[in-house]
């Protein structure tokens, strides 16, 4: 991570940390901020694949949902430790991602997208029809997890700070990654896969690694969700959720990391606010998306260009 970017991010995270102190900040807005930052972080991890490696995953909801189920399963059984939940999520999501990435990265283009979609549908169907995990109702009414024994994450404020810390760590990890030699190779693969292979790189291994890292970050985000929402349902695994993740990345700006965080937050807040005023809110959201794609192809972060700032789009 370049020092410049690190310093640039510091005030943003400081502002996020100070957000609860803003006058008029209610518990509802903190919960909304939780969702906005959580899905922003998930979009950022998907950007590692789409924006940096050139792989479009239509199955990221499965990673998110598996993480959520991992936590919900433990919480339902009285294992309240957040760290146990995160560890369990890493194992479950990691094993699943290993299988998916192995097969999906063996194929290029649309086949990668289709394979991630098919695997995700299998996971969705499994949870939807398995009564041990609540079937179509999912696991509901789980207690909040504990950060430490006796320190329960049971308030919007505590959950908010948890997600800010997660976002900060995930962002730092992604920044380090894309700034490293590994990240440069990913971009090289995106730009010209054959040339990267010709240069001696094991392209599939790099793509698998990118897929695994993206999946684990998404799964960890999913693992934090039941602590705030008290449930994990099959809806979280549905392909439409994967589609929303892709839209978040597109809104924010591909290959920028920061853009998808903004895109995710923008999508959640837009959805929440517009749906409170009109029944046909998805038309409004659709229109906004069309406008962004037509007039801001580099996403919301592309606005920086208009303001004269240097674009962040990754290059090899």
């Amino acid at each position: 991570m370049s020092r410049t970017l690190g310093w640039r991010a510091a005030p943003v995270f400081a502002a996020l940390a100070a957000l609860p102190a803003v006058p008029g900040m209610t518990d509802y807005y903190l919960l909304l901020a939780f969702d906005a930052l959580l899905f922003g972080a998930v979009a950022m991890s998907l950007d590692l694949l789409i924006g940096y490696t050139g792989l479009v995953s239509f199955g990221h909801a499965a990673f998110f949902g598996l993480g959520a189920y991992a936590t919900a399963i433990l919480l339902e059984r009285g294992i309240l430790s957040l760290w146990a939940s995160l560890g369990f999520a890493v194992v479950i999501v990691g094993l699943y991602a290993l299988v998916v990435s192995y097969f999906a990265t063996a194929r290029r283009g649309i086949y990668f997208a289709l394979l991630t979609l098919v695997f995700a549908e299998v996971v969705f169907t499994f949870f939807r029809y398995t009564q041990t995990f609540g079937g179509s109702d999912g696991i509901q009414g789980v207690p909040p997890p504990e950060l430490l024994p006796g320190v329960t994450l049971d308030t919007p404020m505590r959950n908010y700070y948890l997600i800010v810390v997660y976002l900060a760590l995930a962002w730092a990890a992604c920044r380090v990654l894309v700034g490293s030699h590994f990240g440069k190779v990913l971009v090289a693969i995106r730009e010209n896969e054959d040339r990267a292979r010709f240069l001696g790189y094991n392209v599939q291994r790099y793509k698998m690694a990118a897929c695994m890292i993206s999946a684990l970050l998404t799964g960890l985000g999913g693992a934090l969700y039941p602590g705030r929402a008290a449930f994990a349902t099959p809806d979280l695994l549905l392909w439409t959720v994967s589609g929303e993740f892709i839209i978040m990345v597109m809104i924010g700006g591909l290959g920028t990391l920061t853009g998808p965080v903004i895109g995710g937050a923008f999508f959640i807040v837009l959805q929440e606010k517009v749906s409170s005023y009109v029944d046909w809110y998805f038309i409004v959201i659709g229109a906004v998306l069309i406008l962004i794609v037509l007039f801001m192809p580099k996403g919301l972060l592309g606005l920086r260009r208009l303001l004269g700032a240097r674009p962040w789009r990754a290059t090899a």
Binding site: T26, Y28, L31, S136, Q140, T233, Y281
Partner: protein, 404 residues
């Protein structure tokens, strides 16, 4: 002179504003939340729920409101999914400060919202969802329901089906919380009474083509098809069953929210003879029901339906608040328990203390030329079943077909 007139006018206006100000200031407001599906597969139920709430609130406000407060309704769409439902419920409670939430429509969403209303101690009325978990494992002290749940409906329907329609029944349900629950409870009730379930199948919510299941139904040797679907799923299913000649081949029965009365006219022929249990029909000559339908129709220009439940829920809450003399949720919850009201569309309704389920009579209806015509009245006490708070309603249940 002109200047004096202007001055007088100004003083008069100022005086009027001054005098009116306290009156305006006294217009205290209490907010309630209307949460449900406003678009999509259950759109009809959500919109009629809103209409029922609106009618009740306008009546109450016209009579001075509740405890001197005008009621303001804040409606939210839950997208028929648990995650948005939770977010909207949190918004209603934490941001808008509602004292009551009515909703949701889909059972899955309602159960997710129950965790929110439990956490934030908010009175929660359900007048549409019918999964059996809500008054058993998910129950909490702030939750109330006047929607007959799956067990009530199954108890009311099973006997009639066995006596009048046939003993071999195929259960076809929408494969999510509500349909599964209806299927399970109906299978349990039917087998307890000596009937035979010859097959079961579930089709995903929002299925477009039901024909892949028709072969199994036709091979089952059923006399009766029990259908646990709702909304646009029901419309598509009936159209397709009819085009395959299966509406003539089998006797058909279903759950109370299978189709709204408004939808029946469009598919009157496929629905002819369909039997369902419900607590409201615009074609029921019962004076209470007609009285409610008339005022609903006068307000909205359409017949009432399941919306009657949401209307009653607002009145139950208002009565409980006045009985408690406060909006405090603990006091209002306690005031609800055992509360009875006589002047509803179905006559007397009482809130059972043990599980907060409203005990009310229901009717069996048969569809004739697109109209729900009453054929029998089911006493509420006969259908409600024992209170099972905290007990697993699935204990001992199996989908296994017991061949006779």
């Amino acid at each position: 002179m002109k200047r004096v007139t202007s001055l007088a006018l100004l003083v008069a206006v100022a005086l009027a504003v001054f005098l009116a100000a306290p009156a305006v200031a006294q217009q205290k407001v209490v907010k309630i939340g209307d949460l449900g599906s406003k678009v999509g597969v259950f759109e009809g139920y959500g919109k009629y729920q809103s209409m029922g709430i609106q009618l009740a609130v306008e009546e109450i406000n016209a009579k001075g409101g509740v405890l001197g407060h005008k009621i303001e309704v804040i409606a939210e769409d839950d997208d028929t999914k648990p995650a948005p439902a939770v977010r909207k419920a949190e918004k209603l409670i934490l941001q808008d400060g509602v004292k009551l939430i009515i909703g949701a429509v889909s059972s899955g969403s309602t159960m997710a919202v129950m965790d929110v209303t439990k956490k934030y101690k908010t009175i929660h009325w359900n007048s549409v969802s019918c999964a059996e978990f809500m008054r058993t494992t998910k129950f909490h002290k702030y939750y109330f329901s006047n929607q007959p749940d799956s067990r009530q409906q199954a108890n009311g329907l099973a006997k009639y089906i066995l006596d009048k329609m046939g003993k071999k029944v195929y259960i076809f349900y929408t494969d999510y919380a509500m349909g599964q629950s209806d299927g399970r409870q109906f299978k349990t009730a039917l087998e307890r009474l000596g009937g035979e379930v010859v097959g079961v199948a579930g089709a995903p919510l929002d299925t477009k083509d039901f024909s892949p299941w028709f072969g199994a139904i036709n091979a089952s040797g059923a006399d009766v098809l029990f259908l646990a679907f709702a909304g646009t799923d029901s419309l598509r299913l009936m159209t397709q069953l009819h085009s395959f000649g299966m509406t003539k081949k089998y006797k058909l029965a279903g759950i109370d929210c299978f189709l709204l009365q408004q939808d029946l006219a469009a598919i009157a022929e496929p629905m002819e003879g369909f039997v369902q249990l419900n607590h409201f029909s615009a074609y029921n000559p019962d004076p209470n029901m007609q009285a409610f339908n008339q005022k609903f129709k006068k307000k909205f220009g359409v017949d009432a339906n399941i919306a009657a439940g949401a209307y009653d829920a607002v009145y139950f809450w208002k009565t409980a608040v006045e009985k408690a003399g406060s909006f405090d949720s603990d006091k209002v919850s306690a005031a609800h328990e055992g509360l009875c009201t006589d002047a509803t569309h179905i006559g007397r309704q009482c809130i059972r203390t043990e599980d907060h389920q409203v005990v009310m009579d229901m009717h069996l209806y048969r569809v004739e030329k697109g109209k729900n015509i009453p054929i029998a009245r089911i006493d509420g006490k006969d259908a409600i079943g024992a209170a099972m708070v905290g007990q697993d309603p699935l204990k001992g249940f199996t989908w296994e077909i017991k061949k006779k």
